[in-house]
């Protein structure tokens, strides 16, 4: 017993120290982040820039070389920061931006030149992580593009879009088809449309869920006659919504790409339950109307 106690105390001391170190580390990290943020804000502000420029012109000849190099460093840093700011501005406003990548593979086609496309998608008033599509030129003697790598999820029919808008060049031997043309901008437009529509559909399903009181842990749930127990996407493309009521009825709502309601079926214990369907839809034509309908119900 006597030997046990000091040991446990020692342990606790060690633990305490560990905890303290961990919290201090976290503090250092957050302070560093703060510092970076402050530097970034300061360095891009117009007044700082003016001061720096004035300094550089005034004291260019007189000052020690050490000091001027420091000034130069600050100026390049300001330039970088400004470039980054501009890039971010383009990314927020244009939603599709391009960039150049070098393929790390030493055997890469076209000298490793890769064109990157960046798609910004907003959902729930937040920027999601952008989707990327990388294109290269694998065909000899042709400037035709091909999708090299991408991070687009499987529920977006990327391969179909690529086959439609970026067809491979026609071989010499089969001359049956009309000469194919690649249209990068229409490919990009179609792909972005698909991405945004997909996210809008999932967002609407999320709205439906929260309106039915499925998202929040407690309270807030609207007092429906028969509470809804589940609303979820039933397929990969989030075009079909599965709805389940607590009394065993289940429904399926099918919408098209744009969120217009195509049809809805509710299955009750004895066959189709048209009454519930009418009640649920309330004459709405779009899924968003169903959300409103649920909100007012």
């Amino acid at each position: 017993m006597a030997s046990d106690e000091p040991q446990s105390q020692e342990l606790s001391v060690a633990e305490k120290l560990d905890n303290e170190i961990a919290t201090l580390r976290a503090q250092v990290e957050s302070l560093k982040r703060d510092l970076k943020l402050q530097t970034a804000t300061l360095i891009t502000s117009d007044s700082t820039l003016e001061l720096l420029k004035a300094d550089s012109t005034k004291k260019s000849g007189i000052k020690k070389p050490n000091d001027s190099s420091r000034l130069q460093e600050l100026l390049t840093r300001a330039d970088e920061q400004n470039a980054h700011k501009q890039q971010c501005l383009y990314r927020t406003c244009a939603s599709i931006t391009t960039f150049k990548v070098r393929d790390p593979d030493p055997n890469a086609v076209d000298g490793g030149n890769v064109l990157g496309l960046r798609f910004e998608v907003m959902s729930k008033s937040r920027f999601l992580r952008p989707y990327y599509v990388m294109l290269n030129r694998p065909y000899p003697n042709s400037r035709f593009l091909r999708v090299h790598r991408h991070t687009v999820p499987q529920c977006i029919p990327l391969s179909g879009l690529a086959a439609r808008h970026l067809p491979p060049p026609v071989a010499k031997d089969d001359d049956s088809d009309t000469p194919k043309r690649q249209d990068l901008s229409s490919f990009v437009r179609a792909l972005r449309r698909e991405l945004v529509r997909y996210h809008n559909r999932t967002a609407v399903i999320g709205d439906l869920r929260s309106m039915a009181g499925l998202e929040s842990k407690k309270g807030k749930a609207k007092e429906l006659e028969v509470p809804i127990t589940d609303i979820s996407a039933a397929d990969a493309q989030a075009k079909q919504i599965r709805i389940e009521w607590s009394d065993g009825r289940s429904g399926r709502l099918v919408m098209d790409d744009n969120g217009d309601i195509v049809k809805m079926v509710v299955q009750g214990e004895d066959g189709q339950d048209r009454e519930t369907m009418r009640q649920f839809l309330g004459g709405s034509l779009r899924v968003e109307d169903v959300v409103k309908q649920l909100e007012s119900a």
Partner: protein, 541 residues
């Protein structure tokens, strides 16, 4: 149970009971550990499962039926039985005890097919590496526009914009219709807790009946029972179980190949199992299709035992077509989200620079070393090289191929079709041979049977990849002279993590290493031409 046994095309009912003396039953239960066996039994005793796996209980109206010799007297109620197994869970003991109690006591009249399926699935969850999975891509076929087209070969519709949808019960119905009527199957769907996929277990029995007769061996001897005494006893074999996994929101399916299949059974049985599997595989695309919407399965040259690798490379997420160094674009962590947002005002820090890795351990030791006055110039040089190698590894592999990410493949087979380099100085020949040596060291058992699969797949590739030929590369090999056929195969628990470690250690030159060694192509078998895997596999299209 029905008295009459008529041959039907219906599927087997999950409540059909299999004689506990059957070898398969004993084998299935004996594979499980004691703890998982007990948790399984408690699942069986659950109120909701009573319809499918009822245990033998003492009938309340006939209490004096007691048999003194009965070693496992039937329990009075479900609660009592549950308590009994729970007490077994609390104390230590052998697996034997539990198996005996199940087979000779509480389920002495047979285990239902559902119970067998649960036991089999439990084994699969306990040993996730016990099956080998092959990924197939579901592709839509062109609807023939003209009657003459319908006769011709099937052509995939490359321009289709539909993502195949999958409805479990419809799929099962159609699949049953595709399977021949003299083969009966039991289907069981299950959803693993920690993986976004739906698992279908198909257990196949050679029998035209869907009643007791299909599975029991006891009724066989009875004279005049539909003449079934003539037929040999129904063979139960583990290799007759096929698993199909449907990943959520991904147009792929994974089909299992039992890794232990052919070892125990004779060649004939193995061949039979193969044909049964082929039958099922053929039926799957038909079962997925519907009127005016036909699908086909296309191989993806990816075979692995690790299902989380499958999900990363052929799943629903962003990582499918962004392997190796490209994985930095597919990052899903919250830190990635922050740095990637266009509202981030901070300058992005390039990876492995001093600012970016203050939090990891390795650079810490490095910086400490740096602070120490190192007088020896070779030390400084070594350190520089080590850092360079780490940078190269980071550039080529990104965040993928870490030893502990659990996404390893066991085997990578590559056939190199490039001509022999005449200008050796320009070619990183030393590196290549080094790799091959290591691969040879790593491959403890170089089985010759596998090579044929590699040959086969490349042959298929040659037929399929019209794209390649179109690009005008087919004749290149003849022009450039001697091209020895070199096959490289890598073995290990996590092949690409091993290669990454070799790069980090400076054994492989990270900058000259070909791209297929980083795993960015997402294949486990392939042919290399011009230093790249043929067929644009990495794009995932």
């Amino acid at each position: 149970m029905a008295r009459l046994s008529l041959p039907t095309t219906a599927r087997l009912s999950p409540s059909l009971r299999v004689d506990p003396a059957n070898n398969t039953v004993i084998k299935t239960l004996n594979r499980l550990s004691r703890s998982s066996l007990l948790s399984l039994v408690l699942d069986w005793l659950d109120e909701r499962n009573q319809y499918l796996c009822p245990p033998l209980l003492r009938r309340p109206e006939a209490p004096d039926e007691d048999d003194e010799d009965d070693f496992y007297p039937p329990a009075e109620s479900l609660e009592e039985l549950r308590g009994l197994y729970e007490s077994m869970q609390a104390r230590k003991g052998g697996r034997r005890e539990v198996v005996d109690r199940i087979l000779e006591g509480d389920w002495r009249y047979g285990l239902s097919l559902y119970q067998l399926a649960m036991a089999d699935l439990q084994y699969l969850y306990d040993h996730p590496g016990s099956l080998k999975w092959t990924a197939y891509r579901i592709q839509q076929l062109k609807t023939p526009a003209h009657e003459d087209d319908a006769e011709g070969p099937e052509r995939t519709d490359k321009e289709s914009l539909t993502v195949p949808r999958f409805h479990p019960s419809t799929f099962l119905q159609n699949l049953q219709a595709e399977v021949l009527p003299d083969v009966k199957a039991h289907y069981n769907f299950d959803r693993p807790k920690d993986m976004p996929l739906l698992l279908l277990r198909i257990f196949i029995i050679d029998s035209p009946y869907n009643t007791d007769l299909a599975v029991s061996t006891r009724h066989r001897g009875r004279p005049g029972s539909n003449g079934s005494s003539k037929s040999p006893t129904t063979s139960f074999d583990a290799s007759r179980t096929i698993y199909i996994a449907f990943p959520d929101a991904s147009p792929h399916i994974y089909i299992s190949k039992s890794a232990t299949g052919g070892a125990a059974s004779s060649a004939g049985a193995a061949g039979e199992a193969k044909s049964l599997r082929a039958l099922i595989v053929e039926g799957i695309p038909k079962a997925l299709s519907r009127p005016r919407e036909r699908y086909t399965l296309k191989g993806t040259n990816l075979t692995t035992k690790n299902i989380s690798t499958m999900l990363a490379v052929k799943g629903a997420g962003r990582t499918n077509a962004a392997g190796g160094g490209w994985s930095i674009y597919a990052g899903t962590g919250t830190s990635d989200l922050k740095t990637d947002s266009p509202l981030q005002t901070l300058l992005p820090t390039p990876p492995l620079s001093d600012a970016s890795n203050t939090d990891t351990d390795k650079p810490d030791t490095d910086s400490r070393k740096r602070r120490r006055p190192t007088s020896d110039p070779t030390d400084v040089e070594d350190e520089k090289q080590a850092k360079q190698a780490r940078l190269a590894a980071q550039a080529r592999f990104g965040n993928s191929a870490k030893v502990d990410d659990g996404k390893g493949i066991e085997r990578l087979d590559v056939l190199i079709e490039d001509p022999f380099p005449t200008d050796v100085a320009n070619f990183s020949d030393e590196d290549e041979s080094e790799v091959q040596d290591r691969a040879a060291l790593l491959s403890r058992n170089s089985s010759k049977g596998r090579r044929s699969t590699l040959n086969l797949s490349t042959m298929l590739d040659n037929q399929e990849n019209v794209d390649d030929n179109r690009a005008g590369r087919s004749g290149e090999r003849d022009r450039k002279g001697w091209a020895p056929q070199v096959r490289v195969s890598f073995h290990g628990s996590h092949v690409f993590a091993g290669i990454r470690q070799l790069v980090e250690a400076g054994i492989i030159d990270g900058e000259k290493m070909p791209g297929w060694m980083t795993g960015e192509e997402g294949v486990t078998i392939g042919a290399v031409r011009n230093g790249r895997i043929k067929g644009f596999k990495g794009s995932g299209l």
